[in-house]
């Protein structure tokens, strides 16, 4: 509609210089888009300002004003920060191989009739509220793991991770990590599946033509193509595991310690669970301390996300340069 009239003199207006007609729809769209983009920045900034302002009294507070430690704020937050990263890391170690396997099964191995329902079932896992996972964790999973943990502590106790004595109730960081792994499985699986499906058919057929077996084909074409996708999927899962509150608060038996042993009664707590457990009975400086731990979690999440972006972008560049 904005094309120049056919009788216009040639060269009077170059195609690039045509003034675009701005309609109301365009204006509305541009404002909504800019507004939405700004809103998320403003929200993030507001959260950061709130966290910092509320945290300062706790960060400057003298040693001995925190629950469970005689030290300063940093002594208070260190076990929590460690526990947060530790539980999420174990969860990822369990979930990522499983998720990649499920995604491969769905995208390349299973007959179509089976693949689709399986995909739906995995997605359904994401719809279960975390409090239900927590209930499952304390009533089913934790008691069921007790004999296994006792066996592990007895026979593999020389390995620092499995050092005894094993917990009598099974509410350990390993149980929490298993629950978290189940919770992050759907998002990692769904993203991996999307990426695997997009592997160019030509690459795959070329691999077969060279005489590759199914596994060799996956290794030569699907994995290299999907590596950055797997990493970003894992990082999204890690983000969810880091922030998970309810299930951890319900299942874990926390203490203010830093320990790599995953079978014992005393486990490092996570930041989010610690806030949920202690906020209702907190007042004054204790509330500031909890908010300050929230700020630490905010920073940890920011670092994890930036790290993931950096890894993904570096990998994409190396893929292009090849």
């Amino acid at each position: 509609m904005t094309a120049p009239a056919p009788d216009q003199a040639p060269g009077a207006a170059l195609p690039g210089e045509i003034e675009a007609v701005e309609r109301r729809g365009d204006r509305v769209f541009s404002r909504v888009a800019v507004g939405a983009g700004t809103a998320i920045l403003v929200a993030l900034a507001a959260v950061a300002v709130f966290l910092v302002a509320q945290s300062l009294p706790a960060i400057w507070a003298p040693a001995g004003s925190f629950r469970g430690t005689d030290g300063t704020f940093w002594d208070y937050v260190a076990p929590l920060a460690f526990g947060t990263v530790w539980a999420a890391a174990i969860a990822l170690v369990i979930a990522v191989p499983l998720a990649v396997g499920i995604a491969l099964f769905i995208s390349h191995y299973a007959p179509r009739r089976l693949a689709q329902p399986l995909g739906y079932i995995i997605d359904l896992l994401a719809a279960v509220p975390s409090v239900v996972y927590g209930l499952w964790g304390i009533t089913v999973l934790a008691p069921a793991t007790v004999p296994l943990y006792e066996w592990l502590a007895e026979n593999a106790g020389w390995f620092p991770l499995f050092a005894g004595p094993a917990s009598g109730t099974g509410r350990t960081v390993l149980t929490v990590a298993i629950v978290l792994a189940v919770m992050v499985l759907p998002i990692i699986t769904a993203l991996c599946r999307e990426v695997f499906v997009q592997t160019p058919t030509l690459h795959q057929e070329a691999a077969y033509a060279l005489g590759a077996t199914w596994w060799e084909m996956v290794r030569m074409t699907v994995f290299p193509y999907a590596r950055s996708g797997i990493i970003s999927a894992s990082m999204l899962g890690l983000g969810r595991a880091l922030g998970e509150t309810m299930a951890v608060a319900m299942v874990l038996s926390p203490s203010a310690i830093i320990s790599f042993a995953v079978l014992q009664s005393e486990n490092p707590s996570t930041i989010a669970a610690n806030i949920a457990l202690n906020f209702p009975e907190s007042a004054g400086l204790q509330v500031n301390a909890l908010i300050a731990t929230g700020l630490v979690l905010f920073v940890i999440t920011l670092i994890v996300n930036s790290l993931a972006r950096w890894i993904v972008s570096r990998h994409e560049r190396s893929l292009e340069s090849r």
């Binding site: 009598g168 038996s253 209702p280 009975e281």
Partner: protein, 358 residues
């Protein structure tokens, strides 16, 4: 009427019914036209919430135009909101300190201060789940050492000595404490700190001071003790279910938990010193040797103004709280929330304080 119109009117009736029943405390509202009318807002202690629910339901039945709200947001949150003036009364597992009670309070006439009213007594129980043991005697020192992790085996001579008739198994003890900060933990540790100061070694605290197994909330602890093996924990006595409740050594005898014994220790305990006569903050004496007292008890307060800015609020608070302190209300909460009814002597003192609210 043709079918579509009938359908529409049926839908309309359903919608009206659905929207009219939006809040739980508006259901089952009696038609009675009691003397109290208006709205009261309270919040705080979650320990009290089950009791507050039944108290509120009953008084709203009797007073059709009265609405009482109670939000179990936690004692600390309740006290803060009350001090800031957002509430007509607060529920709290620990009393306002004398300085807080006499300081600036949002809802009260400046300079008049607030009063602490012990209205909810909840006995705590030490619950155990040991194979082949269905009765257990403990004293404060042994309990302290078990929860500190110093006594690790059930057949430890110090436990066996208290239970000469029971064969204790040679099994590792798993002691479960609360992972969240709570009034239950504060009262449990207060008992150990008062009755066994050397063995326990630290002051009372609302979060458990030592390591060991832990679980969230009363239900979490009960769940862990029930599902675990050779476990011990502490929880509100009303949640103990089928678990064995340990009898505690008081003086020279072992006292099994009963609501009366729990109320007796509160009655026998002194009021906190340096407070006005109507400010009933109790310092529970856990070392009491009186026969028939059970020292492991949580007292939760309702905190109210001495003088309200709005006299109508004063009337409502007076009306609600004098119902709560009545024998009938205390029996109702004992039945539904597992609390111990106030002893008559204490109830009379609390009622006198409530009647002074202006």
């Amino acid at each position: 009427m043709d079918t579509p119109r009938r359908l529409i009117s049926a839908l309309a009736v359903t919608a009206v019914l659905a929207t009219s029943g939006c809040a739980v405390n508006e259901l089952n509202r009696g038609d009675s036209d009691g003397p109290l009318a208006g709205t009261l807002d309270g919040a705080g202690s979650s320990a009290q919430s089950a009791a507050q629910e039944v108290w509120i339901a009953e008084i709203q039945n009797a007073n059709g135009r009265l609405t009482v709200n109670y939000e179990p947001s936690g004692s600390g949150a309740g006290r803060e909101a009350f001090i800031a003036g957002g509430l007509d009364f607060a529920g709290s597992d620990s009393a306002l300190t004398a300085a807080e009670a006499e300081g600036g309070l949002g809802a009260c006439v400046p300079g008049t201060g607030a009063i602490n009213l012990p209205l909810y007594i909840s006995p705590l129980a030490i619950i155990v789940n040991i194979e082949g043991v269905d009765a257990l005697n403990l004293d404060a020192a042994t309990t302290a050492l078990i929860f500190r992790g110093e006594i690790r085996q059930w057949d430890d001579p110090r436990i066996q000595e208290l239970n000469p008739t029971v064969t204790m198994p040679s099994a590792t003890i798993t002691a479960v404490h609360r992972s969240d900060a709570s009034g239950t933990t504060k009262n449990f540790t207060d008992y150990l700190a008062q009755a066994a100061p050397d063995e326990w070694g630290v002051d009372a605290a609302d979060s458990f001071p030592y390591g060991g197994e832990s679980a969230q909330g009363n239900s979490g602890v009960v769940n862990a003790v029930t599902n675990g093996r050779n476990t011990i924990g502490y929880a509100d006595a009303s949640r103990a279910g089928d678990l064995t409740i340990a009898a505690l050594k008081v003086g020279d005898e072992f006292v099994a938990y009963t609501p009366q014994a729990a109320a007796a220790v509160v009655e026998a305990s002194p009021l906190e010193e340096g407070r006005a006569d109507d400010d009933l903050a109790i310092t529970i004496d856990r070392t009491i040797a009186l026969p028939g007292t059970y020292p492991l008890v949580l007292v939760s307060y309702v905190i109210a103004c001495r003088e309200y800015l709005d006299p109508r609020d004063a009337e409502l608070v007076r009306g609600y709280l004098s119902w709560v302190v009545s024998d009938e209300a205390q029996q109702v909460s004992a039945e539904f929330a597992g609390s111990a009814p106030l002893s008559p002597g204490l109830a009379a003192r609390v009622l006198a304080a409530i009647e002074g609210i202006r």
